[in-house]
Symmetry: C2
Subunit: 181 residues, 2 copies
């Protein structure tokens, strides 16, 4: 593998980040790509235990994920990051870091309407947030800033996850970041 890259899934809770990532990653490994997954759970356990969900806590968390993703990408590996990452400024900071070290940053916007995410609520978190049991929940009482120029937009409420995964793989093929199937 020659060029490292970072797949950066961003979107609301319940927008399908991990679902799509979980379909993309095995297919990439199948094609010989060395890729590590840095999703919310992995990161909060191994890198950011104790950080809160204030803007500062979230920013610190995302910068750590970006630091690790960049270590992988600049050595020719791939990283798949699936974190809400609600703030444009910090996503762009990570992008500059990755691109500055020669890696490719692919921002994947999970463009699902808030109402759909609330309907799906796979972890029951919106219910708690709407009841005031969880504070600073993105989309409810904390902002989500959509990407302005993402490399990929996935309308996950309109398409099955397999279709979204296919879109990601086709993008990577088109950009010659992975071999064709």
């Amino acid at each position: 593998m020659s060029q490292g890259f970072v797949l950066w899934f961003t979107g609301l809770s319940g927008s399908g980040k991990s679902t799509v990532a979980d379909l993309v990653v095995p297919e990439l490994r199948e094609r010989g790509v060395k890729i590590e997954v840095l999703d919310g759970d992995v990161v909060r356990t191994n890198l950011s235990k104790g950080l809160g969900f204030s803007k500062e806590g979230r920013d610190t968390n995302i910068l750590r994920v970006g630091f690790v993703a960049n270590l992988l990408a600049r050595n020719g590996l791939a990283a798949c990051c699936a974190c809400i990452s609600p703030y444009t400024e910090i996503r762009d900071t990570v992008r500059r870091q990755v691109e500055g070290d020669g890696g490719t940053f692919i921002e994947i916007f999970m463009d699902a309407p808030l109402d759909d995410c609330i309907q799906r609520d796979p972890k029951g978190l919106y219910k708690k947030a709407l009841a005031g049991e969880i504070k600073q929940f993105t989309g409810i009482d904390d902002p989500y800033e959509p990407p302005e120029n993402p490399e990929i937009v996935l309308k996950t409420h309109d398409a099955p996850p397999e279709e979204s995964a296919r879109q990601v793989l086709e993008y990577l093929e088109k950009e010659s970041l992975i071999p064709a199937a």
Copy 2:
């Protein structure tokens, strides 16, 4: 490069960890090894800002360094970690993690007497610790547990850093982890 490995320098402040690492790393890159440096400064800035120097804070810090080092090693890259890492139990936890994922863990004990480190005191930290201006300083009012079975022991008070670096490189050659010069 086939097999990933972790060079884990452990020892008192002032024992020469970063000095020796700074000689080893460029030589490894020269020989085609893809290696990332995770020393105290890099880590405290990018992974562990805000963590204190209590046993819990130190342990969390070392586990994060180990997590990242393992991500690199299990993908065939190398990591060079230079942290005091005073506690045996946590160093062994990292070792198990790395070896469990198929990487090679090389513990390098900087076996310099405390008095020598205090004499050298390159950052002026022992002076402050002895004056009570820094608390929980390893060797002064916090313990250092020497490794019981390190792969490499460097008597850095008896030998110039170049000699210690040569010892590390020879070990890696002997273990076929790097090509001969």
